[in-house]
Amino acid sequence: MNGINGPALAVFTALFLLVTVLGFFAGRWRRADLHQLDEWGLGGRRFGTIVTWFLLGGDLYTAYTFIAVPALVFGQGAIGFFAMPYTIIAYPFVFMVMPRMWSVSHRHGYITAADFVRGRFDSPALALAVAATGILATMPYIALQLVGIQVVLGAMGIQGSGWMAELPLVGAFVILAAYTYQSGLRAPALIAVVKDAIIYVTVLAAVMIIPAKLGGYSAIFAAVPPAKLLLTPPSAGTLGQFSAYATLAFGSALALFLYPHSMTGVLSSSGRGVIRRNSAMLPAYSFLLGLIALLGYMAVAAKVDKVPAFLGGFQQYGPNFAVPALFLHLFPSWFAGFAFAAIAIGALVPAAIMSIAAANLFTRNIYKEFLRPSCAGKEESTVAKVASLVVKFGALAFIVLVPQKYAIQLQLLGGVWILQTFPAVVVGLYTRRLHRWGLLAGWITGMTLGTWMARALSFKANVYPLAIGGLVIPGYTALWALLANFTVAIVVSAALNGAGVAQGKDATSAEDYGG
């Protein structure tokens, strides 16, 4: 950790430059007028099965997978493996729900979830709530990506003291901002292909070479304290880690495709069949995610936290340093640089997609709806470009204001908020029985309770031990908040519908949703 790691940095820089050039070139790919929001923000809605696979995969294969999940497994054991069931069940859910979202959006030209809510419930206020939630929830998720970049840069010796410490982060940030601004969604879509290629090489090398060097999986699992390998079972008065594990997985899965960027991935595809085919193909990512999660145990087995050269890294980045340390420890420098490029680019692509998606939300559902209804064409896409910058600065703020031991908490915090749009967006795809004001009341309740619980945990943990009777049920805050959200939404809707309060006019009709 002392001084710059030359070979690693050289390989890293070369790959990074390649990708940057690609990012700027992307604007010419399937050339169109990038001053139109549809083109800049949705790639013209023409992405087929393959591009969509890379694009949606890019949403999953991020610093979350490479840094955050293994860090949790490294530090806390089995509970960190919840990412596995999370990514398994996310896809059956997408298979069922998202074709409906695609159909109705295609029919009415919606490009965000808030567009849909606006049309379905005839309520600008509810649409505003959904849009604001999407923008807010995206920020900590982008922050997680920036943390990932920061950690691998630090691992190559690029760190300083004082304000210099932030320089590399700012550099990466500027590059990301620039090519996103220039090329829109085409940039991450094109880069995703290159990114996946180097990620596959990295992952395959890691899961084949590292276990061999550590004496096989038996030796790796034997090196981990047995208590860490399993979840704490329920005992008198508490459900232990069982309920935490299941609710983290379930809540994360429901939340995944409510994020603006996943919605972008879905809506930029060229049809329902594309979404369904991808739901069956994307679990390939889940399998690799599981293998990468096990890198956490490999770091335990390699005792990287005891290696003197890495002490500084662990001191500065905590458990998030586990995977970079493992790579530096077991691979030649040049390959560590290759792997770090995979991680950094794997963080940049989703960060770009996320900021574009949040920008779409701001432009369509806040700026145009409330500030400048006449805005169109070039003005619309310019506002979106600027908004994408603002969102990234919001993400930086999360890093500075709430430093996290475990980066994964940032993503879970985003999940707490975004899940509160579930009743309006997902239930709304099936029924209008929930009243628009009922949904808004539920949303307010869920956001308040979720944020309150997160605050009670100092924004550093997301499993809240709820005591019901004599039983303590540790569960993901997002789900507790969603339960309260639903309860209020249902009760208020029943009251309003009973009193005959106007429902508003539904802009969509049953056949718009297809099958």
């Binding site: 089995a78 493996f81 596995m84 069931p85 398994i88 069940i89 896809y91 059956p92 859910f93 298979f95 069922m96 074709p99 096989g216 999986y217 038996s218 030796a219 790796i220 699992f221 034997a222 047995p226 390998l229 399993l230 979840l231 079972p233 069982f242 594990y245 299941a246 997985a249 379930f250 329902r272 069949g273 369904r276 085919r277 739901s279 069956a280 193909m281 679990p283 390939a284 889940s286 399998f287 599981g290 096990l294 297809g514 099958g515």
Partner: protein
Amino acid sequence: MRRFWRWELLLIVPFVGTLWVPFYNALEPRIGGIPYFYWYQFLWVGISATLTAVVYFAIRGGDR
């Protein structure tokens, strides 16, 4: 029978298989040194993908 059976119901299976922790919170039996807890969940990636593919082909006719 036709009224109650929908292919999509198959998609509930992965939720049950992966979210009911008592099914798999155990170390034994191991496969290739990997504890049950871990390979069980890896197995479900395949099962879930297969079920999704089955449903895809079964309902494809009505999905254009």
